[in-house]
Symmetry: C2
Subunit: 529 residues, 2 copies
């Protein structure tokens, strides 16, 4: 296994030489029903990745395949699954796929079978959630838990929150008992105060999540909530469980009702399929629902082992992203789910992608001389159509797009207006947008002209369910992992968050009115710190 910078790969130069003409790819000439059919690959759990409206052809795809081989994308994925120390910066294995199932060798670390550890924890919190949902575990004889609220930030917030939103309507339609799920993340006290005042505290179970057990925001919010519980005459130990690592100061602490563990091989932003997402999702919707979600993710992990990118949706999506970032030179990408359930999925992907691959040094710490992770943003459609799509259609720059859509709504609660249901309108708009972005429209009035040539892909499936949600999540995790391999990055650390933490600690613990850094002091003084 070799780790070489991306621009040393033979395919790099050939792709550079090719790129020029593809910046003005003529979709009016290239795009037809045959291409829509051909440029398509199954993803997992019934989802399909279609890239007919991307600025590629068989020549480009062949070079991208060579690039994947030269950068050993699949070899490295297999090594990761087998427990190699892929996170070199922190000297850690990377094992979030193992949470979903075993695809490589058994991973043993310091004598411990990690897969077994993950399975045990899954069963522990599943049993715990089952008891709470059955009313066997209660805050008091008179009350049951009717609400769960996660206290966590970053990876302990964005993913679980996006997943909870995505499953809420599905669970309602499936007749699942639902516990209300809320989230507290920001250190802004207005966040915790608003959530706490809207919750029935005597029926709420808080899920405190911090892998290190030292996250400033989360510890502040823990104390904020414990204070509220005490003031309401409640025992915090009956209203809080912890999800943390076994080495954290929060671990094995009797002041929590129970504790569930992860380890250093699960990065925060990759932890939605661990107890970080699992405890609250199992409590809110049922442990069997969370397990279906894991199963969907596992299917996508398995599909990502295929060595031919034309049969591997995650790898192909990664390669096309690299083509757009480094050769067509687009610095951003928009994720546009046509599903209200995925309203916060783009915010989670923004974290997943930008925190993983927003790096200017390679895995050995040497500066790279090519662009890495793009800026990622998005909002659900059709909402975005009435907002920032103006720039996407008629701005001076091209923004690559990634659409997601489903044949059916989650609840099936719909209305027929002007001859079509709302779900059909939603899908009709999605088909219309892909076509409009690609083909454009000529007009003698410049203001009404659309140049087209705006590339997009489409991930679609029957419905947004626990399984398809899991597959969708794992698809993007794996896409980002493959891009990291291609760019020769360590996608699994986040040193870029450290400096701000150090300076914040400095200003919060300053003595005699000064931190010793006059600029920090000057800004602190503006803000009254």
């Amino acid at each position: 296994m070799q780790f070489n910078d991306f621009d040393k790969a033979g395919a790099f130069g050939r792709l550079k030489a090719l790129a020029g003409s593809y910046r003005k790819f003529d979709f009016n000439a290239a795009l037809n029903p045959e291409r829509v059919k051909k440029y398509s690959v199954p993803l997992a759990a019934g989802l399909v990745y279609n890239y007919a409206a991307k600025a590629v052809d068989d020549k480009v795809l062949a070079e991208l395949k060579t690039l994947a081989e030269q950068q050993e994308a699949i070899v490295k994925y297999k090594a990761l699954l087998d427990g190699e120390v892929i996170n070199t910066g922190e000297k850690r294995k990377v094992l979030h796929q193992l949470l979903r199932g075993q695809l490589g060798k058994a991973v043993v670390h310091e004598g411990k079978d990690i897969g077994e550890f993950y399975r045990n924890e899954l069963e522990r919190f599943s049993a715990f959630a089952d008891k709470v949902r059955a009313g066997e575990l209660r805050p008091s004889a008179a009350k049951a838990y009717t609400a769960v609220a996660q206290i966590g930030i970053g990876g302990s917030d964005l993913g679980p929150r996006a997943m909870a939103l995505a499953l809420e309507n599905w669970a309602a339609a499936a007749g699942k008992k639902r516990l209300r799920a809320e989230f507290i993340s920001n250190v802004d006290p207005d966040d915790a105060s608003k959530v706490a005042s809207a919750l029935p505290l005597d029926e709420t179970l808080f899920v405190l999540v911090s892998k290190s057990g030292t996250t400033q925001e989360t510890l502040a919010n823990e104390l904020f909530i414990k204070d509220k519980l005490r003031k309401a005459g409640l025992d915090p130990a009956k209203h809080m469980v912890a999800v943390t690592s076994e080495t954290s100061p929060l671990a094995h602490n009797q002041s929590y009702l129970d504790s569930f563990y992860i380890d250093d091989f699960i990065g925060g932003r990759y932890s939605s399929t661990s107890g970080v997402g699992g405890v609250i999702l199992s409590l809110a919707f049922g442990s069997e629902v969370f397990k279906e979600f894991l199963q969907g993710a596992h299917e996508a992990d398995k599909a990502a082992l295929e060595s031919d990118p034309l049969k591997n949706a995650a790898l192909l999506d990664a390669l096309i992203g690299v083509w757009e970032r480094n050769f067509l030179e687009y610095p951003y990408t928009a994720v546009l789910p046509y599903s209200q359930g995925l309203s916060r999925f783009p915010a989670h992907l923004q974290q997943l992608d930008m925190e993983s691959n927003g790096k200017r040094v390679n895995r050995d710490g040497a500066a790279v001389s090519y662009s890495t992770g793009p800026v990622v943003f998005g909002e659900p459609g059709t909402n975005g159509q009435h907002s920032f799509y103006q720039l996407l259609h008629q701005g001076t720059d091209i923004v690559p797009l990634q659409f997601v859509g489903f044949l059916e709504s989650q609840k099936g609660d719909d209305v027929e207006v002007d001859g079509s249901s709302s779900q059909t309108k939603l899908k009709g708009n999605l088909a219309a947008q892909i076509t409009a972005f690609a083909k454009g429209k000529q007009d003698s009035n410049g203001n009404k002209e659309f140049l087209g040539g705006r590339p997009s892909s489409l991930i679609y499936g029957k419905a947004l369910t626990p399984a398809t949600l899991g597959a969708l999540l794992a698809h993007f995790e794996n896409k980002i992992m493959f891009q990291g391999f291609i760019w020769n990055l360590n996608s699994f650390d986040q040193e870029g968050v450290q400096l701000g933490k150090v300076l914040a600690k400095k200003i919060l613990s300053k003595t005699g009115g000064s931190t010793g850094d006059p600029v920090l002091d000057a800004y602190g003084s503006l803000l009254g710190v």
Copy 2:
């Protein structure tokens, strides 16, 4: 008044020539407490715009001032206030500032005093809201309205929703009676179904908002809700008011409890200070709260009349944005409010900015040969610090930043942990981030090195109140207007949303299984349309 393309201005070439060295602006040399103090300008309502950490100096600022003069930014703003037809594409006046107060001549259109019309509508919906809040106007003798839900999309959704979120904690702390405020926007039926099933329909007043009265999504959601009301045995006419234009099919319709009017001179994304935002905000928090919000906006509008950019926060912010977009060549900008109340403010700004200035033709319809509006994205801090800030600190590209922060939280409900309150931690982090982005940190380990040179501005004030929120909103509206003037764009139409609408209509009304466009048909077929 002359409308010339931006690259014809004399200052353009000089700024181009200057730009090179500022891409690596040395904040370690330039940034000190004196500069933090000096590079600061009052905005309005007590807010201050600080640009000490932007890559500018007096030489650049002098050229930017010349640019503003050459592009006649203030002259055009005054013309807009006086009622000139600034929206050339649609041949319309642009009068959202007039909603907040009179700053130019009286604007008379077809014999009607528009300012008087706006003031009358404000008083009409204020009186209506007062009656609802006092329980004088009720859905039935037994019930009062306890919830309001807006049905609207784009400009009828993002702004009002962001404002409602921003005022909720403030209103709670101020002891204002609050009506629960919800929003339905997406044509995805899962959106309306979820909101409707969570609301007490017999106590809910729906606010139907569509200027044209023809918005596909909004009309579908109107019928969805009317259907639910009827099925619950309720009379829709007692549960719905309309906000629309007087020429729309919704106007003067007895099937609404009441109707409030705007006109074509209020663009959707600029309509938060009209009845589009005003009806729901007055119902939810009180008409006096909405009027304070308008007053804050009016103050910012007034401050934006100042001809010296160094004394005009909106104009200066606009000019620095242009400097970053066209001369330093950054294609995006991030908006990062350190206030949970502003959690959806970036989504509104994304619309405001990208829909206004995401255009490749000038106001006469001719293609421009320079970049226009950037991609805008953002999430509240400190949340973002644990997410996409990795790329902002250590990515291969520089993303200009715009921070917002307040000295006090909205509710004052706080906790002291490790010697500081959560609000102090929030502010300490903000000061730390600005410093870290600007100054960076040297390290022999490349992975732990921060190059710095990441420019940011800071808007700050005492607290997020109706008045400061209004000022903040108007600041950005005016900033974007000024950028449109500088780029010689029409910032007030949105032709880019039309093609998708046309194609969606085509596919939804296809006969015999075909639209005549094989590509549209092929995507429709994938999605089962």
